[in-house]
């Protein structure tokens, strides 16, 4: 399912413009991250996607249909939305009821709902009879995510899914999001953590002051230091090192070091530059993921894709 913004202007009380002509398209099945400083207009953009806010001018199209023509429930069937604060979402007395909530609200087939909830409970490792209010912050965030995932919407929007989570919880939440994406869900995420963006997104859209200032494949955007700086952002650390080294020693710019984007690429590039390349890649400890990370996630990533979350420098 595609999301399309056509010259969108939006504001909260018509006096202070928040978005000043935003254009972009998110294609079916993509994983797109929005980056920008506080107040750049990212959250407003997300609220436009799920119709909580309607544009003052321009069009927001979900699967080709303007959000203004869709009812709340029709939008909710298409777009799942994870809010920053799980406390505003969770409102039932048991985990099970919380997961069923969306099905009830959308008046969907309850037999199917029960089956889906059973699947999700097993997948996330919840106890269906727990009281959500007694769970810790990270688990509540997971529950909030699960109650969206359970509805199998073709689009999922995440507003800073990692805020307030520790590293393990962060890995767990993002591992699940990655899997959804691999199953074909279109994922749109707002994220301050550039390491997370670098690890997960396929495409990045940079917002600044209510406008889209750059967009493109993740590392093309993240290596564009000048636009990032203009938007008051810093590239992820490995990219930063790669760019830094290329400035300190211009000769490196055209080498593997000058184009390394990830921890693995950089390690291999440096190793081969000092003539120890073979030595390093043969090493068994050269696992892309730290041993604790996958255990913490509690889920086994599909064999085809190595768990890529290299551990964010947060």
């Amino acid at each position: 399912m595609t999301i399309e913004f056509r010259d969108v202007h939006a504001s909260y009380d018509a006096t202070i413009p928040i978005l000043r002509g935003v254009d972009f398209t998110v294609n079916d099945g993509e994983f797109v991250a929005f980056v920008g400083t506080n107040g750049a207009g990212k959250s407003t953009t997300m609220r436009l996607v799920n119709g909580l806010l309607k544009p003052d001018a321009g069009e927001v199209l979900i699967d080709g249909i303007p959000t203004t023509q869709l009812k709340t429930s029709e939008l909710a069937r298409r777009v799942g939305f994870l809010f920053q604060n799980p406390d505003s979402q969770i409102c039932c007395n048991t985990v099970r009821d919380e997961l069923l909530f969306g099905f009830r609200a959308l008046k969907m087939d309850m037999d199917h709902a029960e089956r889906r909830v059973d699947e999700i409970v097993a997948e996330f490792g919840f106890n269906p009879d727990d009281d959500p209010f007694l769970l810790n912050r990270g688990t509540r965030q997971l529950l909030a995510l699960a109650s969206i995932v359970v509805l199998e919407t073709p689009v999922i929007v995440l507003d800073e899914p990692t805020t307030g989570l520790d590293f393990r919880e962060c890995v767990k939440v993002l591992g699940l999001i990655r899997r959804l994406h691999e199953q074909g869900t279109t994922v749109v995420m707002v994220c301050h953590d550039m390491e997370v963006v670098a690890d997960f997104a396929e495409r990045v859209i940079v917002m600044h002051d209510g406008l889209v200032v750059d967009q493109g494949p993740t590392f093309e955007v993240l290596r564009n230091r000048r636009t990032l700086e203009a938007a008051n952002l810093v590239p992820p650390q490995i990219v930063d090192i790669s760019l830094g080294l290329s400035i300190m020693q211009p000769g490196l710019a055209d080498t593997l070091i000058g184009s390394a984007n990830t921890l693995n690429e950089m390690e291999a590039a440096v190793a081969s530059a000092v003539g120890k390349g073979d030595h390093v890649t043969a090493r068994p400890t050269y696992a892309p993921t730290a041993p604790g990370a996958e255990d913490a996630a509690g889920i086994v990533a599909p064999a085809t894709t190595p768990a890529m979350f290299e551990g964010g420098a947060r």
Binding site: K71, S88, Q89, C91, S147
Partner: protein, 256 residues
């Protein structure tokens, strides 16, 4: 995007007036409205109140308030119509009748409530809550604890409204249709959402108490306040005007 009783910044005369003077004026104004049943006088008071609102650019808020007061006073007015059989008989009722007097009483009530309410609410719109509580502590010697309780209650209203908005949005995103089926449906859907709101508000008020304490709540005395609230000539004039209005109302009631 201003909430209920939320300060609207400005530089009008009313904004600059002494908070205590504003409060006393508003209270006296309200008392005046209740001292007389003279419709002409009450209408004059209402016009005066509206002029005050206009003088500080608060017409939008005032109309919103008037609408709310109107709904409330309408209920009272309807009760009055059916229960005060005075004046020329218009419609017969099993227990009496509706007369011209009944209608006059109803209209009077509406005008009186509107006129009395406007300056009171206006006071909150043109005065910072902290100025109000500080000056009440300084000038009227109200114990700080009470002033703080009141001001923090008001302070939390927008916080909770914001929480409620967040909760409703989160549920809307999950397909709850607050926008379909009118007010009854909306309330029915909102009731279960009060649980998370209650949980978060209990937690918030607890930590707010701690936060106030670690910033020296217990050390505060009447002299702590940084700002001074002297009475200016205009404040005195306003007090005199309020007393004169009250006297006029009493005179009208007694002598007419």
């Amino acid at each position: 995007m201003n909430g209920f009783l939320e300060y609207v910044p400005g530089t009008s005369l009313l904004h600059r007036m002494n908070p205590v003077a504003k409060l006393l004026f508003a209270v006296l104004f309200a008392i005046t409205c209740f001292c007389t049943g003279n419709l002409v006088f009450l209408c004059a008071m209402l016009v005066f109140a509206l002029a005050l609102a206009a003088s500080c650019g608060m017409m939008k808020q005032t109309f919103g308030l008037m609408k709310a007061v109107f709904v409330f006073s309408l209920i009272l007015a309807i009760l009055l119509i059916f229960t005060t059989p005075t004046g020329d008989r218009l419609i017969d009722l099993p227990w009496g009748y509706i007369g011209t007097g009944s209608i006059l009483a109803a209209v009077t009530t509406i005008v009186r409530l509107e006129a009395a309410a406007i300056p009171l609410f206006l006071t909150f719109y043109v005065t910072k809550m902290s100025d109000l509580s500080n000056s009440v502590v300084k000038v009227l010697h109200v114990p700080y604890k009470y002033a703080f309780t009141f001001s923090s209650t008001v302070h939390f209203i927008p916080v909770f409204m914001n929480d409620m908005k967040g909760i409703m949005e989160a549920q809307t995103a999950r397909g709850v249709e607050f926008d379909v089926g009118g007010i009854v449906n909306k309330i029915r859907l909102m009731v279960p959402l009060c649980v998370p709101l209650l949980v978060s508000s209990v937690r918030k008020t607890n930590s707010a108490a701690i936060a106030a304490e670690v910033r020296g709540f217990n050390l505060r005395t009447r002299d702590s306040g940084y700002k001074q609230y002297p009475f200016a000539a205009f404040d005195v004039a306003a007090m005199v005007l309020a007393v004169l209005l009250l006297a006029a109302a009493i005179c009208i009631t007694v002598f007419l």
